[in-house]
């Protein structure tokens, strides 16, 4: 164990981020680009096993514990922080950059946490920094959206924490390792993890909050929270059957909602849920091939989703518009953004020669190997649907379709460079998958480029494309949103509580009036007899007093006599 390998690799990002406000533009730029590279270097210094132990209460924490899976996710998080930083440089608020680097650092922190206490700490830091990232857009919508995001994630954090405490009480161990779904605490931990992955029913936080972040902020947001959840599920619950069903649900939820959506970045937000669905399904299948597929897909997804969001972010940054109904025909004046958007769209669709092709197909291949017919058919339909909702719909509606009359130029240099970098990685992985395959958790014995596979994928995607253009007249964009599970806490909940408050207050008013009326009677009667002019409180003359005494004594005498 060397001293360098004992540095938690997320720490430079988290601490360095706090320095950003202290410096001017140049040093800030150097930090934003340099810290992720430093983290990347640290990630590859960490050997297998635990390199740092810290005593805490009666437990021993393992803040730095590495293996192939940790390094894979640490690597892509660091690359993502760099690319996102390059994209946001000089464009984003300092607050946003601070929040972005802290969330990147906490995501890396989670991937190297060997124990559950460290994991929960970084998990919560990720939730808090992501909330600030949403807020840092500083629009009227971003504050309530960030608040809803925070409430849901604090709830998820509490569920996870209860699970962790139960697990520690059951087993006496804080080590984060594979868990079976055999106790309530493990179910709670699974629920806490899944909430961050955007699993049903609480998945609406993602398309609700992310699109309210700034054009640069959503690029960061898309990468860390959901993929950290994929990482912990890979490590904690591989082969849990329920994940297959949850994953399949997420795939089709993402497609259908994205098809109905009008906001370009919300389309991409739904497609995050869709893509994470593929990964969760792969984790649920639980073979070495499917786990490799899920991990590789997470890696590829982070880059191409960032690329897609960068191209959408560029459009938003240059035009200030985000609704498909207001956009269109931008290819004329934004050729680079269009090209990069298309490369991202092809990658997410798993087109041959792009990164999605060499990663996603491992998951469906694993389903076939395990003869999971239903999963395989649905995964294949899902792959076709990805092309439908993200592969064609996104670039078509933004850059082609009707001419919106907008003629914004391509975005500034740093944004263009960031897009070129991501587009390069997408294609490089697609053409030359060997380096990615070499760092996957298990040895890879999978050949993506067979003639049959390429032809099958081309058929699937191109005929989905045909379906898209045939159905285009039926997919007219409207100025609408689509109700989701969040309707329950955004519409029904507040109204139910309002109604209840009204009823209670009406009942209260009613009771109060009744009570006051009764009291009024009571006091009236008392006043009548005991008031200043009441018969019992009147001042009586001494003579009448004497008369009454005489009468009483007389009655007494008569009574005594008999």
């Amino acid at each position: 164990m060397t001293a360098i390998s004992a540095i938690p690799p997320g720490l430079p990002l988290v601490l360095g981020a706090l320095l950003l406000p202290l410096f001017g533009l140049r040093i800030r730029a150097a930090l934003v680009l340099g810290l992720p590279l430093l983290t990347l270097a640290l990630v590859w210094q960490i050997p297998d096993g635990v390199s740092l132990r810290l005593p805490f209460l009666e437990y021993e924490l393992e803040p730095v514990s590495g293996d192939r899976l940790s390094r894979l996710f640490g690597t892509v998080f660091a690359i993502m922080a760099f690319a996102g930083g390059l994209f946001a440089l000089n464009r984003a608020r300092t607050l946003e950059l601070v929040a972005a680097l802290i969330s990147a650092g906490s995501a890396v922190g989670v991937t190297f946490a060997g124990d559950l206490i460290t994991l929960v700490a970084f998990w919560e830091l990720l939730a808090l920094s992501s909330t600030v990232l949403v807020w840092s857009a500083m629009t009227d919508q971003s504050y309530p959206a960030g608040m809803r995001y925070l409430v849901i994630h604090l709830l998820g954090g509490v569920i996870l924490m209860v699970g962790v405490i139960g697990h520690i009480a059951d087993t006496g161990s804080v080590t984060f390792t594979i868990m079976a779904l055999d106790s309530p605490s493990h179910w709670l931990m699974l629920a806490g993890f899944l909430l961050n992955a955007g699993a049903p029913p609480l998945s609406a936080w993602l398309p609700d909050a992310y699109p309210e972040a700034s054009p640069t902020g959503m690029v960061f947001l898309s990468a860390f929270t959901t993929k950290t959840a994929v990482y912990v599920l890979l490590r904690g619950f591989p082969g849990a059957d329920i994940l297959i069903f949850i994953g399949l649900y997420m795939i089709f939820y993402g497609i259908v909602y994205a098809l109905l959506e009008n906001d370009m970045r919300r389309i991409l937000a739904y497609s995050i849920v869709n893509q994470v669905g593929f990964m969760i399904c792969g984790i649920g299948i639980g073979t070495e091939l499917s786990m490799n597929g899920a991990a590789a897909h997470a890696f590829a997804h982070i880059i191409y989703k960032a690329l897609l969001l960068m191209s959408a972010g560029s459009v938003l940054y240059m035009t200030g518009k985000r609704k498909c109904t207001e956009l269109g025909g931008l290819f004329r004046s934004m050729p680079l953004t269009t090209a990069c958007g298309i490369i991202g769209a092809l990658s997410i669709s798993a087109f041959p020669l792009t990164s999605g092709f060499i990663s996603k197909s491992m998951i469906s291949q694993a389903a076939a190997d395990e003869t999971m017919a239903m999963a395989w058919f649905l995964l294949t339909a899902g792959s076709a649907g990805v092309f439908l909702h993200a592969g064609i719909k996104f670039p078509w509606l933004i850059f082609f379709q009707k001419d919106s009359g907008l003629r914004p130029p391509d975005p500034p240099l740093n944004m263009r460079l960031a897009m070129i970098l991501c587009a390069f990685i997408c294609i490089a992985i697609g053409i030359w998958p060997a380096p990615l395959y070499a760092i996957l958790p298990f040895p890879v014995d999978y050949v993506p480029y067979t003639r049959a596979h390429v032809i099958e994928m081309l058929q699937l995607l191109l005929f989905s494309g045909l379906a898209f253009f045939i159905m285009l007249p039926y997919m007219k964009r409207t100025l609408t949103i689509t109700l989701d599970w969040d309707w329950f806490y955004r519409w029904l909940g507040p109204r139910a509580i309002n109604r209840l408050t009204q009823l209670l207050s009406r009942w209260h008013t009613h009771r109060r009036t009744d009570f006051l009326r009764h009291m009024g009677h009571l006091f009236g009667t008392l006043f009548l007899y005991h008031g200043p002019r009441g018969i019992l409180a009147r001042t009586w003359a001494t003579g009448s007093m004497v008369l009454w005494v005489v009468i009483l004594l007389g009655v007494y005498l008569v009574a005594y006599y008999f």
Binding site: T380, A381, L388, A452, Q459, S464, Y474, T478, T482
Partner: protein, 80 residues
């Protein structure tokens, strides 16, 4: 305003012809490729073509129907 060459009707027609030609090519190519179905039906002729096409149509229809049920004005939540 002069139309961009990409959106002229002639170009669009040409693109459609090329697209259909490529579609035909992929179908043709499956004649010369060994099909290895895992679940029988996926070994049928040009399975991926018709399966992709039909499931996509299906998904659009489902989305459309669900939209009728779940679509609201985009200012739906704003008055809260």
């Amino acid at each position: 305003m002069k139309q961009h060459w990409l959106v002229r009707p002639g170009t669009i027609r040409l693109l459609w012809v090329m697209f259909l030609f490529v579609l035909a090519l992929t179908i043709l190519a499956s004649l010369f490729t060994e099909v290895h179905g895992w679940f029988r039906i996926d070994g049928s002729f040009a399975f991926y073509a018709w399966y992709g096409f039909l499931t996509c149509i299906g998904m659009v229809i489902v989305a459309k129907l669900l939209g009728r049920l779940l679509h609201r004005k985009d200012s739906y939540y704003d008055r809260d």
